[in-house]
Symmetry: C2
Subunit: 349 residues, 2 copies
């Protein structure tokens, strides 16, 4: 059962309180006036595949101005990521950003946090307290029980917020270690009802990063912990969002979008499943309706899997057979497979 958490608003997105677990990512390039058009196009593409919120690093005032310009036109709620200098947070709050992330490890004295809170309250913007095992506050960095130190860092910051009567707060506790991430979130989840942003930080390049994130984020979601997720990969934002959505689907936390059952290909198959998937992948990632799609190479498991799916295609000798509702529906040559398949999927939407 999902942990009960309070709902916090980030623009049009609600985090916690039983609202759907959302997927976010971070923009990977510096913001400058030259880069605004590229960022705006990127946001549209991220929105199309199902991203719910995008965070931007704001390392200086020029970035804060750019983020403001971008937020005014964004199809998605945007968050500002602030380290070291609380004045950057204050400047972002002049614009229509939805959320500010601050790191208690490096934001400094309590009065700085207080100033940010006061302005966030006036602007109706939520904060995320992002605790990271790699940058704990000085007093806690040396503690041996890292998960407990992470929770302590968050709670010290939350105590400041509580004294200011500010509760529009999402919390994250991230480590690059899967078990530390799970333990810190479990411990925190048992102690209060702030909504949790979960993720394994600095999880690595695409393959190891997805493995760690599936185990860490997926493990927590299976325990009912997690209100919004971010997969952190040394790869593109698009790949982070797709991985996040796949973790939600694989753990049955969300059921929208396409689940692909597809064969790895082997020496038996004459139907090039990898090429076919490349041809339809962009189309498939834009589908929000829950669908199971089977893409199989040959007759060993092909008909079995294709019959179970909402729509399936399997190679069989020199032709591809499209299955619908458990029955062979249409037979086409390989070179027409992608277009015929798209046609048949569109009829289901």
């Amino acid at each position: 059962m999902r942990r009960a958490s309070r709902a916090v608003r980030a623009g049009r997105l609600l985090i916690g309180g039983g609202f759907p677990v959302s997927v976010q990512t971070m923009w990977k390039k510096p913001l400058s006036s030259d880069a605004l058009q590229e960022a705006a196009a990127g946001l549209r593409e991220l929105e199309r595949v199902g991203c719910d919120l995008v965070r931007f690093a704001v390392p200086d005032m020029a970035s804060a101005e750019c983020l403001g310009a971008l937020a005014a036109e964004s199809p998605l709620p945007l968050a500002a990521d602030i380290h070291f200098d609380h004045r950057l947070a204050l400047r972002c709050l002049d614009f229509s950003v939805a959320k500010i992330r601050i790191n208690p490890g490096n934001i400094g004295e309590e009065w700085k946090v207080r100033d940010v809170v006061a302005k966030a309250r006036d602007a109706g913007v939520c904060l995320r307290i992002g605790v990271n095992a790699g940058s704990l506050p000085h007093g806690l960095a040396a503690e041996h029980d890292v998960p407990a130190a992470m929770v302590k860092a968050a709670e010290e910051e939350l105590a400041v917020m509580a004294r200011l009567d500010f509760t529009e707060v999402v919390v994250s506790l991230k480590s690059s270690d899967v078990e530390q991430t799970i333990e810190a979130n479990r411990l925190f989840a048992s102690r209060c009802d702030y909504p949790l942003h979960v993720g394994v930080t600095e999880a690595g390049p695409l393959i190891p990063g997805i493995v760690k994130s599936a185990l860490g984020i997926g493990g927590l979601l299976k325990e009912g912990i997690g209100d919004t997720v971010r997969v952190s990969l040394s790869a593109s934002s698009l790949e982070e969002v797709i991985a996040g959505l796949e973790i939600l689907r694989a753990t049955r936390v969300r059921r929208d979008g396409v689940e692909i059952v597809s064969c790895p290909r082997c020496g038996r198959s004459s139907f090039d499943v990898h090429l076919f998937l490349e041809e339809v992948s962009d189309f498939i990632h834009g589908i929000k309706k829950p669908l199971t799609v089977a893409v199989m190479g040959c007759v060993v498991n092909g008909p079995g899997e294709a019959k179970k799916a909402d729509i399936g295609i399997t190679g069989a000798g020199k032709m591809a057979i499209i299955f619908k509702e458990g029955r062979a529906h249409r037979t086409v040559p390989f070179e027409e497979a992608a277009s015929a398949f798209r046609e048949e999927v569109e009829k289901l939407l």
Copy 2:
């Protein structure tokens, strides 16, 4: 704790019995005499990154002959994957293959299995009984409790083997559904001590496939179940092996090789972490020694993570700092970062 299973030999590889959990993949192209050189080179590369066994589809006699030629020179134990026609298995057993996989759902009458077993025994070759939810034997395909039906299919086949007093058998129970895979393996593991080859079948393209495999294979490994693993992806064999090794590392089942802690990059970073990782990735995947390597973009979490790792590198302004044993060790310009890093890693090997 790891489930106690009996040990089965596949060439120089031991599966089960407390031996290290091994990683396998399947060759993705048809075998023909023209393709032998490419396959031989592929095997060498797979061996270099840590693969333990490679399986080949054998859909016809010509493939069986090619597999025989390849096996004679292979740096890795090879397995033959047989469906429908038991005579293909018999032919493969004339060569130095290490393992034969048969699928009880489609191999046919009991006497065919008996013939294969008799010849495997003489050759000292083990068998894998590969049960797949998408191709269960006719009598079981309609059962509602799929995991139980999968276990039943395996046990019916094992009963034949037991009557022939043949125990050199590895078993796999795969579904494209993560939970079915976990449940079938759990049930089977509780009933006997045959070693288990675990995997989620037809798991999909790279990203969803790794997510499902990490949850399915990783979930079972955390319960101590699994003696050899195969990640099934609509992607390359190399990616399957890397994903398999990463799952073993993330679940702490194996500790050899490099664990990469690397930042996702954001607008803050001037050091191109993605490019750097591409430059060193091939080098890193060949390392067998257990090492933690941190590759970070900036000073927010960079020094913290780099100090904890065996070796770390982080961007800091216009330079990259290499950390060793928790201390800044060497500062280099970005364009020399990859070569300096390789140099420093090599000193640790």
